[in-house]
Structure formats: structure tokens, C-alpha cells
Amino acid sequence: MSAKPAVKEPLLDVRAISAGYGGMPVLHDVTLTVYPAEIVALVGSNGAGKTTLLRTLSRVLSATGGIVMNSHDLMPMTSDQVFAAGLVQVPEGRQLFDRMSVQDNLLMGAFRRTDKAAVARDLDRMYALFPRLSERRRQLAGSMSGGEQQMCAMARGLMAAPILLMIDEMSLGLAPVIVEQLMGVLTTIRDEGVTVLLVEQDVNLALSTADRGYVMETGSIVHSGPAKQLIDDPEVQRAYLGL
């Protein structure tokens, strides 16, 4: 199933996860593996449960099953502990600290980091990456345009120096130039050793950047494999690309 050499240990190992909201089940026995330094795309139609899965991995939602990352058992952890273990999420709906400045939002991403110099360096890097954010360091995050907020959310996630970065709907509300640029960033950080789990509605875009992909349907994984292979899968094409 995996396209990676079998010698490599998985970074994230999700086994038979089931979860839901207030008695209503959403995820059914979801199993998924992510290896170090790869980009994995998770695609699927509305309400398939992608966001739910990310929430479960970040331990915002209670669930049954097993989640192991870097040989840490994530199941008994709370979300802040998961974060400390290096699993960072850029959540759906951005979830910025609306009444704080852009800069404070970015610094909150680095809340647990102690190496001040490195944080300052990363901050400069983010501002170089998103000049718009640099112009608006002092603006309250909540008063920015939708796309600017999305940039801020991405930058905050990157500021956390994650081992595994999970991004929910990265391209949402972003101008095409920016999306293109961000895809480049993902490849760069992947090459620097950061692993990415990308949830994306733009299936074409996601699969063309990712190394591997999973397709989710009503709470279950229905397809998986190397990204190129999935793009060419006629079923995926029919269901998601409208071809």
C-alpha cells in the first residue's frame, strides 16, 4: 500500500479511529499512516469527516482507536500536549486570535519555543514570505480580509516549528498567486524535513503537490496511494474532478 520503502518507520500511525459528535458517529475505523518528510493529501467531499479526523488527531475530540506519533501514544494526551509533541494544526476557519495583532498571532505560534533567536529568524522569514503580513504587523487579526487571515493562520502554524503540520483547507479564500506560492513553501519545508498532512478541496492542486493521498468518503478511507496514481484513478476523477 505504501509507496515509501518499507524500512522507513511511520511518523504518524493512526489505527482504527472512530469518533463523532454527541453520540452521532462521523469517523468509522479510519486507518492512515504518514511517513517522515512527505506531503500527504487527504481529500473527500463535504462532510466526509476530514476536519473531524484532524480534530481527533489534535485531541480536541474524544475518540476510540490508536494514534501513535514518533512512538508517543497521543490518545491519552490533551491538545496542548499533542502540540508539544510536534503535531501542529492550521485549523478550519482559521481560528485566529481576533483581537490580537498579527505579530502577536505569529508569536503565539511559537509559544512553546524557547530559542528566542530562532523564533526571531522564523518571524523574519514569515514576513518575507507574506509581505502583506509584514505591512500589517500591528493590525488586529480580526479586522483583516479573509485571505489575509488565512495567510496569518498559515504563518502561525509554520512559526510553531512543527514536526508534522496538518493544514485544513489551505487554499480557502486565497488568490491563485498566493496558493501557488504556498504550495512551493510546502515543498520547501518538506525538503527541510517537516511532514505535512494537507486537507484540500482543490483535489487537483492537492494531489499534484503531494507525495501520497488518501480519499475519504462518509467517514471512511476509500482510496489511498501515490498522489499521481490517484489523480489518474477514474473514480476519483469522476467524483472530484468532474471529468
Binding site: 480536541v60 496542548d80 485566529l96 486570535f97 481576533d98 490580537m100 503565539m108 509559544f111
Partner: protein, 287 residues
């Protein structure tokens, strides 16, 4: 002229004390979104802690403030951790209700423990003053003013320019996101509330040196603190200084020129006006 100068000084010093009283309330309210109706009761408790340190252990009320603050911090921490954390995610009004209940309980216990008598913290220098020509600067108020300004500025630096302060603000604004970025909110909420209560306790210690305390002073102090926080705006801890000074000076001038019974008309009237003209307070950022 001398009279005017003197009254302005009185108002300024009173304003410093006011700012100190409101600081903890503004923190807990603006940051934790808890409308703490028991704030005055905690001021009252802090005053008693100071009083006991002074009368039984003979610790100077100003030097004893750190101890008072520590004791009150512990109380605040436990109250948040053990009680208020239980309802953080309930509808907002519940904080109003629970702190109301808390106020009733604290006041009752205080009466049981301390009796309803009026007490004062009266160090030998309490009534001393510095005379500068025609004007008089009461020493205790001057000291209280200094402590208040120092703590408010300290609070401002802490909240805006330290990692912990930033985390506290972030948690208040978006609990889920803060957790996702590594904040352990139970402890952080408790620390924040603890700080708020420590500030209230410190205010109590200062209040006791310039006025009387009994278990029932709380309610009026809560109301005053509300007014001050709002005039200044909740976004910025420096707001309470502005609010406090504004209110202190306004009240003193009203008492002088219009009549002492109009001090409340003036202060609360101005509060309403400020809100209508600048809904987020004098220093608040426009939404």
C-alpha cells in the same frame, strides 16, 4: 487657586487608588471574560489579610503587600481551578451568577470571622503628610498612588510584552486555538484569575490604610471598579489608570463646585457619555 490645586491633587491621588481597585477586575473581565461580581469581596479579604499581618505580626502594611498578594493569589488560583473552571464553557451569564453566589458566601464568612465592626490599618505614619507650600500631600495616599501606578504599568508590560501575557490574552480570545498552540488552559486560567485576585487583595491592603473596612464594603467597590474599567477601556491595562484618574478628579471637582451629592451623577453620567461616544472606552481600540 490653592484650593483648586489641592482638590486636583486629592482627586489624582484618589484616582490612583481607584485604578488599583479596578485593575484586577479589568484583567479578569477583559481577559478571562469573567464578570467578577465578587471582586469587591476579594478586595475586602485582601484588606483583612493586611490588617491581620499588621496587627498580629506587626508587618508594615506597605511592606506586607507582597505577602497579601501571595495569599490572595493562592485563594484566587484555587477558586478558579476548583470552581470557576467548571463553568468556563457555560453561557456567559453563569459567571455573573456564580460570582454573585461567591460574593454572598465570602461576605458571610468574613462577618463570621471578622465581625461587622469597622477596622482600620493604622500605621503610625498613616496620617502624616508632606506639606509643599500651600498644598498637602497625604503620605499614605501618595504611597498607595505610587504602588498603584507601578503595578498597573507592570501589568501592562506583562500582558503586552511577555510570552505568558500573550498566552493569557490568546486563551481568553480563542480557547480552542490556544490549546491547539500548546496552551494548558486550566492552569493558565487559574494563574490569571489568581493574578487578578492578588491585585484585588493589594488594592484592599491599600484601601485599608486610607479608609475603613468591614465585611460589607465589597459591593460598592465592585460598582466603582466597573465604572473605572469601562471609562478606561478593557483592551489596555493602562486604561484603568486613565479611568481611575478621570473618575477621581471628576468626583473631587464635582464635590467642590456642584456639591458632594452630585459626585455620583457626574461620575456615572460621564461613564454613560463615554460609552456612547467611545463604546470601547477612552483607550480602547475601535472595534
Amino acid at each position: 487657586m490653592d484650593l483648586l490645586v489641592q482638590v486636583l491633587i486629592n482627586g489624582t491621588l484618589l484616582g490612583g487608588l481607584y485604578a488599583m481597585m479596578a485593575l484586577g477586575l479589568a484583567l479578569v473581565w477583559g481577559v478571562l471574560n469573567i464578570v467578577n461580581l465578587a471582586h469587591g469581596a476579594f478586595i475586602m479579604l485582601g484588606a483583612y489579610v493586611s490588617l491581620y499581618l499588621f496587627t498580629y505580626l506587626h508587618i508594615d502594611p506597605f511592606l506586607g503587600l507582597p505577602i497579601t498578594a501571595a495569599v490572595m493569589f493562592a485563594i484566587g488560583y484555587c477558586v478558579q481551578r476548583g470552581l470557576l473552571n467548571l463553568i468556563v464553557r457555560a453561557p456567559m451569564f453563569n459567571t455573573l451568577l456564580i460570582t454573585f453566589g461567591l460574593e454572598v458566601v465570602l461576605t458571610y464568612l468574613a462577618q463570621l470571622a471578622f465581625s461587622a465592626d469597622f477596622r482600620t490599618i493604622n500605621p503610625s505614619y498613616a496620617g502624616d503628610s508632606i506639606v509643599l507650600g500651600p498644598v498637602v500631600l497625604p503620605l499614605a495616599r501618595l504611597l498607595a498612588f505610587g504602588v498603584a501606578i507601578a503595578l498597573t504599568v507592570g501589568m501592562w508590560v506583562f500582558l503586552l510584552h511577555t510570552t505568558l501575557g500573550r498566552a493569557i490574552r490568546a486563551t481568553a480570545q480563542n480557547l480552542v486555538a490556544a490549546r491547539l498552540y500548546g496552551v494548558e488552559p486550566r492552569h493558565l486560567y487559574a494563574v490569571t484569575f489568581g493574578i487578578g485576585i492578588a491585585l484585588a487583595g493589594t488594592a484592599g491592603g491599600l484601601y485599608g490604610t486610607v479608609s475603613q473596612i468591614n465585611p460589607y464594603i465589597g459591593a460598592a467597590l465592585t460598582a466603582k471598579s466597573f465604572a473605572i474599567s469601562i471609562i478606561g477601556g478593557l483592551d489596555n491595562p493602562l486604561g484603568v489608570i486613565v479611568g481611575g484618574l478621570f473618575l477621581g478628579i471628576l468626583e473631587s471637582l464635582t464635590a467642590l463646585y456642584i456639591g458632594p451629592t452630585y459626585a455620583d451623577v457626574a461620575s456615572f453620567g460621564v461613564l454613560v457619555l463615554v460609552l456612547i461616544v467611545r463604546p470601547t472606552g477612552l483607550l480602547g481600540k475601535a472595534a
